[in-house]
Symmetry: C2
Subunit: 202 residues, 2 copies
DNA sequence: GTCTATATTATGATAGAC
DNA sequence: GTCTATCATAATATAGAC
């Protein structure tokens, strides 16, 4: 299992089952990254949050960048199954819609990680530099973006609207269920789709 | 002119005319903040970008936080006149619309600063902690947000859609004029407003 | 898996000369 | 307004014991 310590493989996003110790580090790191940004978070802070020393953290991850990489891969990877399902259903509007609901669901449930994954400069650079991330994002956009000249802009605005819709100070006191419903409706409005109740998975 | 080195005054956002040397520092800092984030930018990097030493930077600003403060105040302050004009025209939809056009215009023209002002953790903290910023944002939202229970969410999504619409990798190759027009149209669609041509200022 | 201890470099910040 | 020189601290990272 030494591959878990390596950079992201050249192929797909790996789904790694981390050890309990590694998981504790990643959880603490993610929380700190969301609050203070990746560059604003030191290994000392992560170690303190876990309740261990820096050296123990370095035993789990060779560099800070490896931690960022692992966090990003783990969280982004959670969209993998939904993406594969959508791809299996062809490129119709139904597949796109189902994936969109899933993305909104994940964004609402884990609001704090949105800022890190979408906007942190360090993560953005990682996503741009590592091929597996690029490929994964390409696949995501291929399903989510609509055909036509405005597809890219639409997708960009959509992703920002959802992100900001879950993390903006203005929406801090809206409960998850309400937020999910309203986000979905407004997303449909932005896309010019008919507004309908949120579909269940069954 | 010693007030320029002080924290933001308790009253309004100050409009400070910085010296040439200070302006060079602020310009370099803003560019670096946009690229690497505030925490990822050191005073050494800023000094190198300007072509001076750290000590010379410290002659202009007492701390790094003062630089962040000055950059934020300067850029946010550019919206001041448009905001005041909108407030003078009452709280009708016409005033909101005019301000919205202005905000989009500024976002498109200076795409790189959007990430810093809207999403950088350090700037977000500053905005939340300093009263003048809070007051300014309150005024902005009072004009931009619509009445009703969904006003806050609408505003949050709107701000994210515009931000992401100008800074997302997907839109990097769209020219300013095209982007401004399409952003305005999609913004109207999100708000459920009739889509019309962008109005001039005269 | 965790610790103590340490090396190295970078960081924010200051003093004082020109 | 800028420089050289310096300081104290914090950063990333490693070695080796338990």
């Amino acid at each position: 299992m030494e591959s878990a310590g390596q950079p992201v493989a050249n192929g797909e996003l790996r789904v790694v089952q981390h050890s309990a110790a590694r998981t504790r580090v990643l959880d603490a790191a993610l929380a700190l990254f969301a609050e203070r940004g990746v560059s604003g978070t030191s290994l000392q802070m992560i170690a303190d949050a876990v309740g261990i020393t820096k050296a123990a953290v370095y035993h789990q991850f060779r560099t800070k960048e490896q931690i960022v990489l692992a966090v990003t891969e783990r969280e982004l990877g959670r969209l993998g199954p939904a993406l594969e399902e959508a791809e299996a259903h062809g490129d119709g509007s139904q597949a796109r819609d189902a994936l969109l609901v899933h993305v909104i669901d994940m964004a609402v449930r884990d609001r704090r990680l949105v800022r890190t994954l979408q906007f942190d400069p360090v993560v953005v650079r990682l996503l741009a530099e590592h091929e597996p991330f690029q490929r994964f994002m390409d696949r995501l956009y291929r399903v989510l973006l609509r055909e036509g000249e405005d597809g890219a802009l639409e997708g960009a605005m959509l992703s920002g609207a959802i992100s900001s819709g879950v993390m903006h100070p203005l929406v801090g006191d809206i409960d998850d269920d309400t937020l999910r419903t309203k986000l979905t409706n407004m997303t449909r409005r932005l896309l010019g789709l008919p507004v309908k109740p949120v579909a269940g998975t069954g």
